[in-house]
Amino acid sequence: MFRTAFRQVATPVLRTQTVAWRRFLSDDLRSQIDKAVKDHDVLVFMKGNKEQPQCGFSRAVVQILQANGVDDFKTVNVLADEKVRSGIKEYSNWPTIPQVYVKGEFVGGCDIIMGMHQSGELQQFLENEGILPKEEGAKQ
């Protein structure tokens, strides 16, 4: 279901023009990404997918989310679409994959997610965002 959101409708090739290095992200793709990050509480742009990550950093992010009790997150396989792969880097102003979005906000890549996980901050963050139920009797 997810990939249809990014399937490009066949359009005539734009007339060739030199594009500035930053213009990989078409308005159309930008609004598709916009919609996707807002439609899903947790969205991960990664290499491969949940069942078969195709990169150690992407795998780490998947495992960390699952270890924190988040099973129900959506992923976008950037390897399936070169435009999404470069477009998301421009959209997020972030040069690497994976990228984790929570409620439409960019949270970080593997290093940041791992850091948050190790410090316990990730659990807290996910509870505050309503992704995870707050623990009964948790200290404030």
Binding site: T96, G108, G109, I112
Partner: protein, 90 residues
């Protein structure tokens, strides 16, 4: 341009050329007080791990801190398969 009271953190003499190149850029642009650059691609220059502390990171979110690093290295990153970043304010 205001004169820095200290010179940029010098690179480790054992660095590969790639490591040194990255170190020098970051040491200067971000006024690093601690900085280690490691080629983690077996010397191929395709993946690096950067640990950097800088007073310029004070008060900024991790995302913002990482962005400052990637901004300095943006041309080099285009050549890389990946980069790992650890930042600290110091």
């Amino acid at each position: 341009m205001p004169r820095n009271s200290s010179t940029p953190l010098p690179p480790n003499p054992k660095y590969t050329d790639g490591e040194k190149h990255i170190h020098v850029k970051l040491a200067e642009k971000l006024v690093a007080t601690r900085l280690t650059v490691t080629d983690i691609s077996g010397g191929c220059g395709s993946m690096y791990a950067v640990e950097i502390a800088s007073p310029q990171f004070a008060g900024l979110s991790p995302v913002k801190q990482h962005r400052m690093v990637t901004e300095v290295l943006k041309d080099d990153i285009k050549q890389m398969h990946g980069i790992q970043i650890k930042t600290a304010a110091a």
